[in-house]
Structure formats: C-alpha cells, structure tokens
Symmetry: C2
Subunit: 332 residues, 2 copies
Amino acid sequence: MDGSIARSSEDRLIARYFAPLAGPAGLALKDDAALITPPLGCDLVVTVDTVVASVHFFADDPADAVAEKALGVNLSDIAAKGAKPLGFVMALSLPDDWREEWLAKFAEGLGKAAEKGACPLLGGDTTRSAGPLSISITVFGSVPSGTMVRRTTAKPGDLIAVSGTIGDAALGLKIRSAPEREWAGGLSETDYAHLLGRYLRPQPRLILADVLRKHASAAMDVSDGLIGDCAKLLHASNVTGRLQIENVPLSPAAHVAIGFNPGLLADAVTGGDDYEILLTLPPERLDDIVKDARAAGCAITVIGEVMAGDQPLTVTLRGERFLTRAGSFSHF
Amino acid sequence: MDGSIARSSEDRLIARYFAPLAGPAGLALKDDAALITPPLGCDLVVTVDTVVASVHFFADDPADAVAEKALGVNLSDIAAKGAKPLGFVMALSLPDDWREEWLAKFAEGLGKAAEKGACPLLGGDTTRSAGPLSISITVFGSVPSGTMVRRTTAKPGDLIAVSGTIGDAALGLKIRSAPEREWAGGLSETDYAHLLGRYLRPQPRLILADVLRKHASAAMDVSDGLIGDCAKLLHASNVTGRLQIENVPLSPAAHVAIGFNPGLLADAVTGGDDYEILLTLPPERLDDIVKDARAAGCAITVIGEVMAGDQPLTVTLRGERFLTRAGSFSHF
C-alpha cells in the first residue's frame, strides 16, 4: 500500500451486512457510538446476554435462528421488566473459520428479528478470535419513570404465575441432541416440530410488557429453568414460597412426551430456554391479569404462592415433595 | 438435590465479585436488567467494544490491567464523542481454565477503573466457553441534547489535530512481544516503562470531552492506528485531506526509539491502541482549543488539514509521500 489508505475489510463487512439494519439512532453505523434520545418521562432499561456456540446453541443451527435467539433472549428480559424496546448494540466475535454466506444469513435473520421486535440495531463491534462464535447483545428499552417491574418485589401472599407453556424448549433440546429418542416416537410430526421450534427460535413475550407493568408485583423471564429461576426471584425478594408442579402449564406436545415418559417432567420444569415470564401478583389482580393477557394473546397460569421466610422454595407434585437433580442451569 | 433449591454458583460469583462494584442503577445486580434515569435534556451516547485474549491483550497480562483496558477502550469512545460516562454493562466470557484468583484481581481492577472514570457497573452476563477470555463492555454516556461530537461532520478547510502523543502503545507492544529487541537498548528504564505502560493501561481522554464539544467539528478516538483512523473519519465525512507525519506528536521515549531505528515511525503512526483523540476543527478555533485542552491537562497538536474531494487521504513526511505497509489494524 502506498500513501493512500483504503477502507478496511471490517468496515466493508459492517457497511454491507449491518448498516442496512441500523435505525436512525445507529447513525448508519458510521460513527463510533450510537445516540439515543430517551423518551421524555421514561427510564431506560438495559439488559445484556451472550450466546456462545456449543453452549447456548449448536454450531450448525441455521444462522438466522442463531441471530433470532441472540436478540430474542435479550428481548425476553426487556419484556419481563415491562419495557418497550428502543434498540440494541451487538458485539460479534467470529471464529477463524467464519464464512461470508453464514454472516449474510445471520444478518438477514437479525434484521427480521429486529423488525419483529421493533428494536433496531444501533451499533456494534466485530472481532475475531480462536474461540467459538459468540454474540453479546445489549438491548435498551423504556418504561414510564419508576414503573420497571423488578425481580426483588414479590410479597408474601402473592400468587406465582407463568406465561405460555413450560418445558417445550428443554424437550426440543433433547430431540435436537438425539433425534432418535424412543419417547419421541409417541409424538406427531406437528408436536415434534413444535418442541424443536421452541428450542431453536424463542419468542420473547413482548406482548405482555404492559400487562406486567399494570398487574405484576415482580417478574423475570424463565431462561435457566422454571424451578431454579423461581428460587432466584424469591431469594432476590427476601421471601420464600411453594410451587405446585401439577399446575405448570404444558403444551399438548409436552403432555404427549411426558405421558410416554413421566421422567421428562423434571426436564420440563428444570431445563432452560423457555423464555416465558415468571411473575408474582396480588391475588385480587388474578382475574384482571388473566383477562388482559388473553386479550394480548397469551395465557397466564397460577403455579404457586409466595410466603414469608427465608427457607428454600418448596416444590410439590400432587402434595408430595418433587425431587429434581438440579434446579437451574448454571454455567459454572 | 431435593425439593429445595440452592443458589447457583454463577449467582455466587456475581454477588461476591461484581455486586460490590454496582452503582445504584445496577440494582446491586440482583435484577435481570439495569435501570438508567437519563439526565433531563440529554442524549444518551452508547458504545460497545470487545477485547479478546491473544487478540487485544496477552493472556498473561495482569488481570487488573485487562479490566482497565476493557473499560478504557470504551471510555475512550465516550470521551471522543464529548460525552460524560453514566455507567456500563459487561458480558464476560471465561475460558474453561479460569481461576477465581484471576477473577478477584480482575474485579478489583475493574472497580478502580470504574471509579476513576466515574462509570459504575450497571449489569452484566457471565458465560463460559471453550474459547479465549473475552470481555464485551457497553458504556453509556450523556451529552446535552444535540451536542454529540460526530465522526461524519469534518468540513473542508478544517484542521486535523490529535491529543497527547501517538505511537507509544505500538512501540510498547513491540517491547511486550520481544523484550530483547536491539533498539530498546537505546531506551532508559523510564522510557521503556512509559511505552509498555501505554500499551498495557490505556488512559481514556475523558478530560477532553467538554473541550471537544465546545470546539471540534468532528472526532473519534485513535484505536486502530492514526493514519487508518484518519482515513476513516474523512471517508465518513465525505471529504479527504492530508497528514504531515513530521507534525505528529511523539513522546520523548518514542523519539529515542525512532531516532535509533527510523523504520519505527511507520509503526508509530499505523499501530493501534493509542486511545488518543483525533479531531477536526475550524482554524479560527485553534488558539482556544489548545488553551482549553492545556487547562484540562492535555496537549492538542495540528497534524494536517481537511480538503474537499473523495480521493484517498494523502500522507507526507517532509514533503515526500510517506509509505506504509498498511494504514490501520483490521480484524479481517
């Protein structure tokens, strides 16, 4: 190269694949920083989650599904806090053997997920490493000042409830890991596809944000397993509680699988990747929240109650202690 | 484990090492999300940068220096935009062989850097992977509405200037990579330590934020090499320009090294990790900016000028075209 300087290939990648996804605040990704003008009278809610190949997804998952999951797991946190997405920044770490076709499909999936979530790309950083593909996304959302739904504010006497159905993704992961499992034989093709799909493409419950802000006393998303996440919420609120496993809502597909092999119930309620909302609410709010959630397009089901005390969460199945190997997925 | 659920070890790590660093907006890291109440009448400036072991730092660099660099490279972007830090979130990916002593020292260094930058930890995510240690930090800053200093707004006729001194970190990296280099023999111990230190512990120019907002027409931080970054800024502004390399400010240590081996000048002006500010300004602002920057504790030096046109940046050394192998560090 002589005294003239060409643009680097990193800039070319950004310009080609990611600049088209950028919202106005992303300054077309031509600056070092994104600019957010927060809505008046609002607080900003910020969440960050990383997904890593071979830990959070399979290295051969479709690139667009990887993008959808990387953004979706963060949008799920935003929804659980009662917030509306404003945008996101992404730190993408590509492995040495990355391919441009992969990146093109990833960017396409990311664009679709961003559009669906009304959450534009604002900025990012792309690096390479000797390690696996890794995507850290930070999402910004807004709530009217002082109304973020906390994890720490569950009160004794509150009901514990959950959105949608639990365990589909954990069972989908089992299918994905070993497609020939005997119990999967009892599943119709539709059931099979449903479970696989819920693992591969989590759907953040953004439609519940307003409902949570209106009625919930505390909330978090269920990402590391229902029982463990419930224990976390109660601990953070300095309370305890009990869960009735027989009340946990299951999809028709999960019912079939668990009917075939009852041991899978433990996987369903301790496996990760549900991306449903776990919430607590005063009992007098139950009728309204169920109605409002249904109007938004999602079921809310009561699965337990909050109690005073600092002893561990009690988990029962039809009145008997429910035994599990582990309560929650942990990276350590 | 029976029906009672204990807290996971991930929560324990966060509670022990990172919760003590959290500012009030971090909700003591007990929630899924951080909450920022943006100052009235301000825009939010957001920047994200990842540092990866063996790419951006040496795996055996001191853990506290790694933390300082991971936060510092982001604070440098915030400074270049004329913004004041509000806080940060971190996605930390630990390798399989991570040790708790390392994490303790890392957290200590991160706490010190956060305090020095008045930029508290607001939230984060910790994962493990088979890959190298990787740290993605997203920093939030604020500027009075509409005053963020852009990269895209340099005008023909503006001067090009730079803060501090250039090339120290690139020479420090050379020493770090091969301590016995012949040319390093010409350096005093103080010079040697100065160059190494500028590579290991970048000092973001937060003290220049107000000065930039007041006088600069455009700015960015110098992280990937002066010449390449200057080409980026001009390209983003749809202008061109020329740089006079003989005017690039060098530290006494860099002068000694380059005097010993003139070939190192090219390393100094194309190597990365300066974390100085590259800026443009109308010529009539020169006296004021130099005075204000000096009052803030930092030199500003003119190194070139912006011109109309879209041809590549011209780089000369005492009137002759200055030849370099590559203008800027690129990850691709």
